[in-house]
Amino acid sequence: MPGPTHVQATINGEEVNFLCEPRQSLLEVLRDVLGMTGTKEGCNDGNCGACTVLFDGRIVDSCLVLGVEIQGREVTTIEGLATADGLHPIQQAFLENAALQCGICTPGFIVASKGLLDEEPGADEGRIRHWLAGNLCRCTGYDKIVRAVLDAGEKMK
């Protein structure tokens, strides 16, 4: 059995080097290797979206990406959204609209919403609901989440 693989990637704008086993998912690498636990595991099979990250600007489930696959690529996680100037407009909108209850799905929803609003800040309710179909929330019934994303879109226009 050979040893772990060296991977170099850009995560949240910074160059990162790490060792991982090929069988470790990007989610495991983020959480267990790099200590970035903001990305959450809900199902580990691509059906809940809690582990959503941006991979070269596209949203993906990080449980369905191998850590070795991000060699030379760019990843953005929930930890990369707020800046020294403050929260990202989507984060602020989630707070103001009470769009989180337990909060476990929240990082995934916020990152997924960023993937949409960066391209389509004017997305309407139907478009938002369709875009977020891969993100499960069990607390809110989605109502306040959709309102928060609509609200954030207004601010990002």
């Binding site: 069988r23 993906v60 990406v65 696959e69 997924a112 179909a133 993100n135």
Partner: protein
């Protein structure tokens, strides 16, 4: 998950060599949205995972009204539906590419992977079959081409031999007055496995009132995706009418051999094949008349 090795070949020949060296203990990964779940759940076991995404031919996507469409085996769904020319020429394919999983999955999952995974419920397979897709295969003994309807051989099994890989799926250029559609029935509105799915592709005559030809393919109603040839053939030369469409839907039902399981019963699935055949034919006719 058990230990795996990971290789990132840059050429088809390199990939073929790697695959050949491990036989059935090696598997090509494109989006990984099926493979990783199967490896993690112990439903599939391999020693070597070979990345398809560094190989240019597998990432190629090209379309011309003359030569048709080539979709590299590793091209993710979102690239297909983001391409306006392709979306316009192959709406039936777009129907499927935009409903596999959610947006996250569509960022990774490929039609090639969907075909190789050979699930009876694979959403893109009926439209690939209906549109006359051909699988271009490379292997240590050279390359070959296989019609999509001959590609799947059983649940999770396909025609690829050890050391062979899918390079691309090629589609003929759409002819005038043609249209296609894919619909599946699921209890939720997305993120679900088809209880039944139907892909249809039709060509109308110039008047738009008669079928010239039709191909119909079914998902989730047999161990493999079904090419319901007789159902499609029954429309050739017939007028577009409720009666002919009804007749074709009955032939589609006759081609289905569903089982009862937790997702649906035999009766429900046969019924749905009829409903979806009628609905997709009507959509396809509308599309054929519209463009």
């Amino acid at each position: 998950m058990d230990w795996i090795d990971f290789a990132t070949p840059k050429t088809i020949s390199e990939a073929v060599e790697l695959l050949a060296s491990k036989g059935d203990r090696a598997r090509l990964i494109a989006g990984g949205t099926d493979l990783l779940v199967q490896l993690r759940g112990g439903r599939r076991s391999v020693d070597l995972v070979v990345d398809a995404k560094q190989i240019p031919e597998l990432n190629e996507m090209s379309y011309s009204p003359q030569n048709g469409l080539v979709i590299g085996a590793a091209v993710p769904c979102y690239r297909i539906y983001a391409d306006n020319a392709i979306a316009e020429a192959y709406p039936g394919l777009i129907d499927a590419a935009s409903l596999i999983g959610g947006i996250q999955i569509q960022g990774r999952a490929s039609l090639g992977g969907n075909l190789c995974n050979a699930a009876p419920s694979g959403d893109s397979i009926p439209p690939i079959i209906a549109l006359g897709g051909v699988a271009h295969i490379a292997g240590s003994n050279g390359s070959r081409q296989v019609a999509a309807e001959d590609f799947c051989t059983g649940p999770g099994r396909n025609i690829l031999q050890d050391g062979e890989m899918l390079v691309s799926i090629n589609f003929p250029a759409p002819v005038a007055h043609s249209g296609a559609s894919y619909l599946r029935f699921i209890p939720r509105n997305e993120m679900d496995i088809a209880v039944a799915g139907v892909g249809t592709s039709i060509v109308l005559d110039e008047s738009g009132q008669n079928f010239v030809s039709a191909r119909i393919s079914l998902a989730s109603v047999a161990p493999i995706p079904v090419f319901a040839k007789e159902a499609g053939d029954s429309l050739a030369g017939k007028p577009v009418s409720e009666a002919t469409i009804q007749q074709a839907s009955e032939k589609a039902i006759a081609a289905a051999t569903p089982i009862s399981d937790m997702r649906g019963t035999i009766r429900q699935r046969n019924h749905l094949v009829g409903v979806l055949t009628r609905r997709t034919l009507n959509i396809a006719v509308e599309r054929a008349r519209g463009g």
